[in-house]
Symmetry: C2
Subunit: 247 residues, 2 copies
């Protein structure tokens, strides 16, 4: 199995999810096979960054404003490469907005979460997504463009106050505080459906912390909660990496 | 804060515990302080090894038999150093039996779990430990010598069948299967007390997977379960690292 590199810490609870999902995927994959000793797990290198630094050094649309942020991530990517990682994951949706810039000069592939989501939706006939994520994910075009390549139409919470409610949930989840999070998300979703005059849609939990709100649906790529279908992006992304590490 | 390096994957569930405990310790430490942006968390590099390889390449008392095993761990330690780790943790008790060999040539300190346990026991007046761990931990002299320096007397499960029962629990925990584990451990402990004609003792969960059996006592260095006092070695060790990363 290839060695997997993870850029983590943004935030740390979803880094745990990625690592756990990959290790469990390896357990499932190897379960029926006979081994001498414990079940093989791929080697994994994690570079867990300080999110206080990444958030405070986010750029804007101003030219050159992402320099510090890019350099911080690029040096972590190069440390993972030096540690022998053969494929790399950013264990967070938000930094994917800079995926093109981060991939420049990287010696190994960075597996895109947009591609994991797009491929899954194509296979499962999902054509529309209501996307909940951090403010950069819900306001910049990166996510939209990233999955539109796969023919998927993206909508975001239509009002700023709904976006702010999503952020409040995420801020708690960054600290691993999950209490009340699932019903808060469900309430936001129903307000979005009402605003958009939709009966239903698939909700893309497009911040890798958000699936932590739904502990009961752990280990599933999609699940239904209060009549709504949710997409667990961390699981899709982590499983893409495990697939890639086998080949 | 200094950058922390973790040698993980042996097994992966306790690697998650170490990472989580350090991140939560940083949250608690910084909680009352004002920050712009998310709570600072130290940078952490993890090198997660393949336990199938480590277990199958364990040495014996034969000279030179640890060569492959030592080389595998030493190269991971050097990768962590190259990634900027300023202190290193082996997130597992068993490899501590080779701590002296692994520390040779390491450019940064490897924080010993024996020292974390010894220091805690000294501070809290604990003088005797019933030690449950992997077979190397319960049969070699490394653990005993490691904590005897702190004036602590160590006993192990007195019969081979009791040691084997401990291993069975650990094997399940390596796969993150916790069901029934706490009562199985408690039963082993009571048999050990009976065999040794003791009324009580402090039980040292000296395999970093074992505390996973007691999810209800999460985040505590010691806890009481069915009249027995247990020591959570992963927590003691992870907190030593966080302390060290502050200074």
């Amino acid at each position: 199995m290839k060695k997997i590199g993870i850029i983590g810490g943004i935030g740390w609870p979803s880094t745990i999810e990625y690592y756990r999902l990959i290790c469990e995927a390896s357990q499932h994959y190897h379960n029926d096979q006979e081994f001498s000793g414990p079940i093989p797990i791929p080697e994994i290198a994690v570079e867990s960054l300080n999110m206080n630094f990444t958030v405070n050094n986010r750029g804007s649309s101003k030219s050159g404003s992402w320099e510090t942020w890019d350099a911080y991530f690029k040096s972590a990517i190069s440390r993972l490469e030096n540690s022998g990682a053969e494929l790399i994951l950013l264990a967070s949706v938000t930094p994917h907005a800079r995926l093109n810039e981060l991939s420049e000069g990287a010696g190994v592939p960075i597996i895109s979460i947009y591609e994991s989501i797009g491929t899954y939706c194509n296979k499962n006939g999902i054509k529309n997504l209501l996307v909940l994520g951090t403010m950069p994910t819900m306001t910049s075009s990166a996510f939209k463009y990233g999955v539109e390549k796969f023919g998927i139409k993206v909508i975001y919470p239509p009002k700023n106050e709904l976006k702010v409610s999503v952020l409040k949930v995420i801020e708690e989840l960054y600290q691993n505080k999950t209490k009340g999070a699932s019903s808060a998300i469900n309430e936001i979703v129903h307000s979005c459906l009402l605003e958009n005059q939709l009966n239903t849609t698939t909700v893309c939990l497009a911040c890798t912390e958000l699936p932590l709100a739904f502990r009961n649906f752990d280990g599933k790529s999609t699940f239904n909660y209060c009549g709504v279908k949710y997409l667990n992006t961390s699981a899709l992304h982590a499983w893409s990496a495990f697939e890639a590490c086998l080949h």
